[in-house]
């Protein structure tokens, strides 16, 4: 092979992802002044990932035991209880640590605080820029992890602003790439204004392709979203969602959903809406015009901003009858980790939504920011320790890197029978929506497998324009290939779980089966093949009641 034709950057800790988890991990790791940190993010910090789009509600414990109970019963006992226990114990410390950076954290009730997404990232970006041992690689797309002798030793990268391919070698790597639910479905809260925020699960796919285990990937949260076409899928505040909900005949489906665990994030409620729509009783509306609204002035700039926007756009449900649809919101499944954020591969850590096992079958409002803050810091700490104790691997095979480079640049060559990326993505979203949505069954999932395999073959027909500089189509093609792997894992996991638990509802197995299925589904790539197995839940803190 020729001498390598790419630049190599080196660091001690590589952080992939510029949302809250990645930024906090970089902040924490960089407190070790002798460690060199690189944070790679596909957009500028504060202008990419889902953190800037979030309300910022963060769950705090009334007591540690209460928090564990809420999460584990809410998650239908599918959570990793050691992770839950760690998170409940650590959140208060982690919040105190955040406060050092002069982030305007506002407690608005005893068990919730607002950690405002956009402001937090702006403050922490400035902090990272100040630190001499941190380098920010913004507008950098990471395309694969480099593995050598069973250990992750870095990643391949594409500088989107120039189109240059390069590698980043690292002692420890943290994946903090966020969720996988957004891009796979035609309707999603992840695209607040109908334009993609690229929540595409590439981190899940890269870890999986490197041999890491993914767990419970069938657990995808679906939520009601405004259907208004002008500002598609704009997120509302939780209090907007209480109800009443009516169908097209004006029948009240639910007058107030506060009694559902998880409220508007409840799978039971969303399944009810789904069935109502399936019966032909849609569209469904949320109508709060008769409710007495408390005009609570908030201290959170982004919340005031959002309320003003809703009013200006004519989609404030206190003033208008709003049609709703169901879309994807959050992925509870993810990369298998322990409470130290260690994945099943040495040298690889994961933080934030990309972690599996935290929420089990349902994520409760406020808990994704708790996860982000606790495990962002923790991953930074653990990866730094690992980097301090290990040498960089100097020698490893370049073949994998050359192969990855070829794969990426293949998208710039004209195939025989080219396909548009937008078209192929539409096909993938359609099959996920038809067969891997709120209600699933064996027949539908088998159909989905077939279609997804065909789409996987068609990825090689994707073709982007040939220029290098900020080539959107190229970046999207690279990400799409990874998304298809994630879709395949979801469908296989959903087929395997022959019961209904949390967000996973099987029409052919409509009951929760605690005898057989207090188990994680585990997917792992072995010898190039997707393999599945189960792994029993450990009842570290709580057990389900015997005859539930």
């Amino acid at each position: 092979m020729k001498s390598q034709e790419y630049t190599i950057k080196e660091c001690d800790v590589l952080v992939i992802g510029g949302g809250g988890s990645g930024v906090l991990a970089a902040i924490e790791a960089s407190t070790h002044k002798n460690l060199k940190i690189i944070l790679a993010s596909k957009g500028p910090i504060g202008q990419s990932g889902l953190t800037p789009t979030a309300n910022g509600g963060t769950a705090l414990p009334a007591s540690v035991d209460e928090m564990i109970k809420e999460m584990v019963t809410g998650g239908s006992f599918l959570n990793d209880q050691k992770i839950v226990w760690f998170m409940a114990n650590e959140i208060q410390n982690a919040i105190e640590k955040l406060k050092q950076f002069a982030i305007p954290i506002i407690s608005y009730n005893p068990t919730r605080a607002c950690v405002p997404g956009p402001e937090t990232l702006q403050v922490l970006r400035r902090e990272l820029i100040k630190r001499p041992n941190v380098k920010l690689f913004e507008d950098t797309l990471i395309s694969s992890l480099i593995k050598s002798d069973g250990r992750i030793v870095g990643a391949t990268a594409l500088d989107l602003t120039t189109g240059e391919f390069f590698t980043i070698e690292a002692k420890a790597t943290i994946i903090a790439t966020g969720g996988y639910a957004g891009e796979l479905y035609p309707h999603t809260s992840n695209n607040p204004f109908g334009v993609t925020t690229d929540a595409s699960g590439t981190g899940h796919a890269m870890a999986y392709l490197a041999g890491a285990e993914l767990i419970d990937m069938e657990m995808i949260q679906f939520v009601p979203l405004p259907a208004n076409p002008q500002c598609l899928h704009l997120r509302y505040f939780p209090d907007f969602w209480a109800g009443p909900y009516t169908n097209r005949h004006g029948d009240v489906l639910e007058s107030n959903i506060d009694s559902y665990p998880g409220k508007s994030y409840s799978h039971l409620f969303v399944q009810k809406l789904f069935r109502e729509l399936a019966k032909g009783n849609g569209p469904i509306f949320i109508d709060q015009r008769d409710l007495q609204v408390q005009a609570a002035g908030s201290k959170v700039k982004s919340w005031d901003q959002r309320r003003k926007l809703f009013k200006a756009l004519g989609i404030d449900p206190h003033e208008n009858k709003i049609e709703i649809i169901i879309g994807s919101h959050f992925g509870m499944g993810g990369i298998r980790v322990n409470e130290k954020t260690e994945t099943t591969i040495t040298g690889l850590f994961a933080a934030g939504e990309v972690m599996g096992g935290v929420h089990g079958g349902m994520r409760i409002p406020g808990y994704s920011f708790t996860q982000m803050i606790v495990f962002g810091f923790e991953a930074g700490k653990q990866a730094a320790h690992y980097a301090l104790e290990h040498q960089r691997k100097e020698e490893f095979s370049q073949a994998l890197i050359e192969h990855e480079k070829e794969k990426i640049f293949h998208f710039l060559t004209e195939p025989n029978n080219p396909l548009s990326g937008a078209e192929l993505k539409k096909q993938l979203q359609q099959v996920m929506n038809d067969h891997v949505f709120v209600v699933r069954d064996k027949e539908g999932l088998e159909k989905a497998t077939k279609v997804i395999r065909a789409i996987k073959r068609d990825v090689s027909r994707l073709s982007a324009p040939t220029f290098r500089r900020f080539n959107l189509e190229w970046a999207r093609s690279i990400e799409f290939a990874l998304m298809v792997d994630v879709a395949e894992v979801i469908v296989e996991s959903a087929q395997m779980r022959e019961e209904s638990r949390g967000a996973h509802f099987r029409n052919d197995f409509p009951h929760e089966d605690n005898d057989k299925w207090l188990q994680h589904t585990v997917t792992q790539l072995k010898g190039g093949q997707l393999t599945l197995h189960t792994s029993p839940i450990e009842f570290y803190r709580m057990k389900p009641e015997a005859s539930s």
Partner: protein, 110 residues
């Protein structure tokens, strides 16, 4: 009734173009849409070579979609255009911090 929006978009790839130029797109539309959605549609359906920052926080706070719309700096996510209208779209800054077309670099002190 008008069924198209006409966008005149600033284009410049410093690697391949000698100087900036404007490209006109007629986008079929049966209703109003934001400039950001308009650009997304142009990139997906008409011209894959167009570069812009598609990220959107939904709050008018992240500034990712800040650009010059009809010669004034505005957020593309919330600037609405209607069928029959013409709109000129240019990068927020040029030549300072310019990368390609409508994409500019976020300064360190942002």
């Amino acid at each position: 009734m008008n069924t198209h929006i006409t966008a005149n978009v600033f284009r410049f790839n410093p690697d391949t173009d000698r100087e900036p130029f404007y490209k006109k797109y007629r986008v079929k539309s049966d209703g109003e849409m934001s400039v950001l959605v308009l650009l997304d549609r142009i990139q997906r359906e008409i011209d894959q070579t167009l570069s812009f920052r598609s990220f959107c926080c939904g709050l008018q706070m992240c500034r990712s979609c800040l650009m010059k719309i009809n010669h004034k700096k505005k957020f593309a996510c919330l600037t609405i255009v209607k069928p029959g209208e013409k709109v000129v779209i240019e990068p927020a800054t040029y030549p300072e911090l310019h990368i390609k077309d409508l994409v500019v670099k976020l300064p360190d002190k942002e």
